[in-house]
Amino acid sequence: MNDHLLSLMTFFPLVGMIVILFLPREADRLIKTVTLIVTIIVFIISLPLAFDDVFITSSAMQYTEFANWISVGQYFQMNYNVGIDGISLWLVLLTTFIMPIAILSTWHAIDKNTKGFMALALLLETGMLGAFISLDLFLFYIFWELMLVPMYFMIGIWGGQNRIYAAVKFFIFTAVGSLLMLVAIIYVYYFSVKAGVPFENGFSVAHFAQMDIPAHLQTWLFAAFAFSFAIKVPMFPVHTWLPDAHTEAPTAGSVILAAILLKMGTYGYVRFAIPLFPVATMQFTPFLAFLAVVGIIYGALVAMMQDDVKKLVAYSSVSHLGFVMLGVFAMNLQGLSGGLLQMINHGISTGALFLIVGFLYERRHTRLIVDFGGLSKVMPVFAVIFMIVTFSSIGLPGTNGFVGEFLILVGAFESELRVFTVFATTGVILAAVYMLWMFQRVMMGKITNPKNEKLKDLSAREIAIMMPLLIFIFWIGIYPNTFLDKMNPALENMIKQVKGKQHIAMMVEDMDQTVTQITVND
């Protein structure tokens, strides 16, 4: 079973989707139940990964599977090449963990075309899991594009007022980025063929990473990859699709988008862009760190000014992912592990925040902050949960957000990005401002709007949705080593390789200069 665990996990949702397609349209509850069961089964399938201690000791890919998929004579070989290491481990588990929660949140929220929604959700899960486990760039690209379609329809069919604009914008932004990446992928492949990488390895990332690509080529290739991933992260200034998409998407869509899809961008940097083009990474680091810091501060400032809770959370994502990017480009263990952990944290906290916004919206059909106020009186349980999530999003010690941001800031401070760290730290303060201010206006004070007086507190189902997220908020906050221990070996290995290549590149450059000087002296 272990041999094909990853494939089973990835394609089980697809099987579920096919089953869903054969259920009658009217059987609303049945469709939801089947989908929930499928996602839970996927989670159970993925659980052994979480308890596998091999990740603590080994940085190598585990659970690998390899099969020849497409081969065209002496030209192409695309392989079904998947595996998992400490970097992708927690993201895979985050995906399988969030999906049942997202499905459960649709119980009352989605009532038209349930069948379509659930089928798309399952297709999306396959796409996301596939993208996280791909070790072949071509395969990765397929899954990467596969994710676009379901999300496009989710926003466009089940979204809010302005859904068409948001859906089309989401699709076009992401697709434009990925098309340029496709050209870069093809180019890297031909380079590898000319560099003598055995043809059977196809588009294998591990083999590409061992090549020495000349610096000037790396610059262009990295730019193409980085642009594609930057749109997905999203980084300032290509973030503009995110607030639209988040605001218009249905709750489950927002949760999946925030918790998992955004991680594709940052994951792409860690898994592909940086290891493949280490020298270019060095050149781009200050620039990307600058954009990350601008994103942190800009996202926070814009979030502060929002009068729509969902938009506020959307902009806070821009800010949070700026932190992740800063940590990743610090290129040391603290920064990278902090960045990786913060990806998980953001998935949990922001996912939870979108669920909370969804609860509010289902009750009042509005998301404007001014329409609320004093809710803690009528919804005490909700108030407690909302507060914990708010603290986690701010990064209060004891919650998960603190560990991630702390590691990122320490890592960045110890790297050459020290100056940026100073500015990034203001983001933590700003986060406290916009989150607490929002919490205060929504939950505290007197009930000003009579419609709010009779709101029901959370139902058992809603509490059940939130509970797992709360557990992880504290678990990561109090004992992060459960998670860090398993990601560290893979990260250490990656840092070692990248730094090594950067070091050689710098030495070569120095030697060139010396040679030039000697020639001049002669």
């Binding site: 030209y75 075309n113 859906a167 098309l179």
Partner: protein, 486 residues
């Protein structure tokens, strides 16, 4: 005289033309049978022509890997011709399947329609197998004349008449260019045989910058580029596709376009390999122009048939990229793409034939509002075809574009590949918009439940299977395409 006949007969090799002869016989037979049947019966014509296509396909299939040359090297039934013949046969088959109920709905249940498609297909096959300027020209004329009639087939409809007449006038004009080009090349080299022309030009380097050679090359190219609908020779396409009966528009966008590519590529590769840098440079510019014009104008279209016409211009541009690359992967990518395009575009048109009402005034974006929910199966089919046209994996359109752009990158045309993918990004917008109307808008018209005609459904199902097969496991067909090129 007797000697001449003997020499001519020595070189006859019927095996070289067997498939197209069989197809022509079926067409002729069908015409004859139809005379004895009452007007308005067409069912037999569908059956007979489908059988004809199947039998021809069988002969093409058995001829694979066993090239036959005949008629004093005027015809070569090689793998190249076989691959393209398969494309034409698929295009004709899918078109015929979707036609019957359509013709009845539009009020023209005339059985002559089917032999004309068979003749056009046979003409296309001659074009693909011609290795002499004259055979290629004959094939082109047989194909074109059938298509002129088919485009204007709805003789009571103004739009159809306009389409037929426009296609005929411009087509005749472009044929003039083609013939003039052939004449000039004959004047330079003294031969109409493609290989002989190539050898002669290669041996006489001084002829390569001779104005007559270059003028011949350019005029020849114009003739084919017109048929392929490459900008700036694309002007006829939108009007003709919009006015012609929908299945014919589908057929023209796939079969004859591929036929023109087949002949064009063979001539360029056989005759003008010594001038490769020149013609690739020319096609580079035209490819960019075609992709940009096709995609940008498609954005502003509200009639879906017209939008697909502009999109077919853009797709011709992508295919040209493969020709510019001028390497093995680019050429075989082009062949692959033509097959992929046949499935996805004819599939999309087949959905249109079922979605339209009599007169087809509802084939606008507005008319498609809510289509996806009211006609769920057709909606899903259309979605698959549109995603394939966009070039999203795992679909035929994606693998096709991937191979073509890979060819371009391999040949060092990285900018061309980048312009190509950026153009696909532009195309996302107008393909997505169809889906926006299909799924994100509420229906404006009444959708009465209709039973879908079985034949058209079969055509759509085949197209979907083709799109998915070429998308998920493109390796096998790509291998064949590689064996098919020279």
């Amino acid at each position: 005289m007797e000697n001449l006949v003997q020499i001519a007969l020595q070189n006859v090799n019927m095996a070289a033309i067997l498939p197209s002869v069989i197809l022509t016989c079926f067409g002729m037979g069908l015409l004859l049978i139809s005379v004895f049947l009452p007007r308005g019966t067409t069912r037999h014509a569908v059956w007979i022509s489908m059988i004809g296509l199947l039998v021809t396909g069988l002969f093409v299939y058995t001829g694979w890997g066993n090239p036959q040359y005949g008629f004093n090297d005027a015809v070569a039934n090689d793998n190249y011709a076989a691959f393209f013949s398969m494309i034409f046969l698929f295009a004709a088959g899918l078109t015929i399947l979707m036609s019957d109920d359509y013709l009845h709905r539009e009020g023209y249940p005339v059985s002559e329609y089917y032999p004309l498609i068979l003749f056009a297909t046979a003409g296309a096959m001659w074009m693909a197998s011609g290795t002499d300027m004259m055979t290629i020209f004959l094939g082109l004329e047989v194909m074109s004349i059938s298509l002129y009639v088919l485009a204007g087939f709805f003789r009571g409809q103004v739009r159809s008449n306009e389409a037929g007449l426009k296609y005929f006038l411009l087509g005749a004009f472009s044929t003039g260019f083609l013939l003039y080009g052939m004449a000039l090349i004959y004047g330079v080299t003294g031969s109409t045989k493609l290989t002989e022309i190539g050898i002669y030009l290669n041996a006489h380097a001084s002829l390569l910058d001779n104005p007559m050679t270059l003028a011949g090359l350019v005029l020849l190219s114009i003739g084919f580029l017109f048929k392929i609908a490459v900008a700036p020779f694309h002007m006829w396409t939108p009007d003709v596709y919009e006015g012609a009966p929908t299945p014919i528009a589908a057929f023209m966008s796939a079969g004859p376009k591929a036929a023109a590519f087949a002949a064009f590529l063979r001539i360029m590769e056989y005759c003008f390999f010594s001038l490769k840098p020149e013609w690739t440079a020319m096609l580079w510019v035209l490819a960019v122009l075609t992709m940009v014009i096709g995609n940008v104008i498609a954005i502003s279209q509200t009639n879906i048939k017209r939008m697909l016409a502009y999109s077919s211009i853009a797709h011709a541009g992508y295919a040209l990229v493969g020709m510019v690359a001028a390497n093995e992967i680019g050429y075989s990518g082009l062949l692959f793409y033509m097959l992929a395009y046949t499935f996805m575009n004819i599939g999309a048109f087949a959905v249109l034939t079922l979605a339209g009402k009599k007169g087809e005034d509802n084939l606008t974006l507005e008319g498609f509002s809510g289509f996806g929910f009211k006609r769920p199966y057709l909606g899903v089919a259309m979605t698959i075809f549109l995603f394939s046209l966009m070039g999203l994996p795992p679909s035929a359109g994606f693998s096709g574009k991937f191979f073509i752009f890979a060819g371009a990158v391999d040949a060092g045309y990285i900018w061309l590949a980048i312009i190509g993918v950026l153009n696909s990004a532009v195309s996302l917008y107008y393909y997505l918009r169809v889906m926006v109307y299909m799924y994100f808008r509420d229906p404006v018209e009444d959708y009465a439940w209709v039973t879908l005609p079985a034949a058209a459904v079969i055509s759509i199902v085949i197209a979907i299977l083709g799109v998915l097969y070429l998308g998920v496991i493109p390796g096998d067909v790509m291998e064949l395409a590689k064996l098919a090129i020279f």
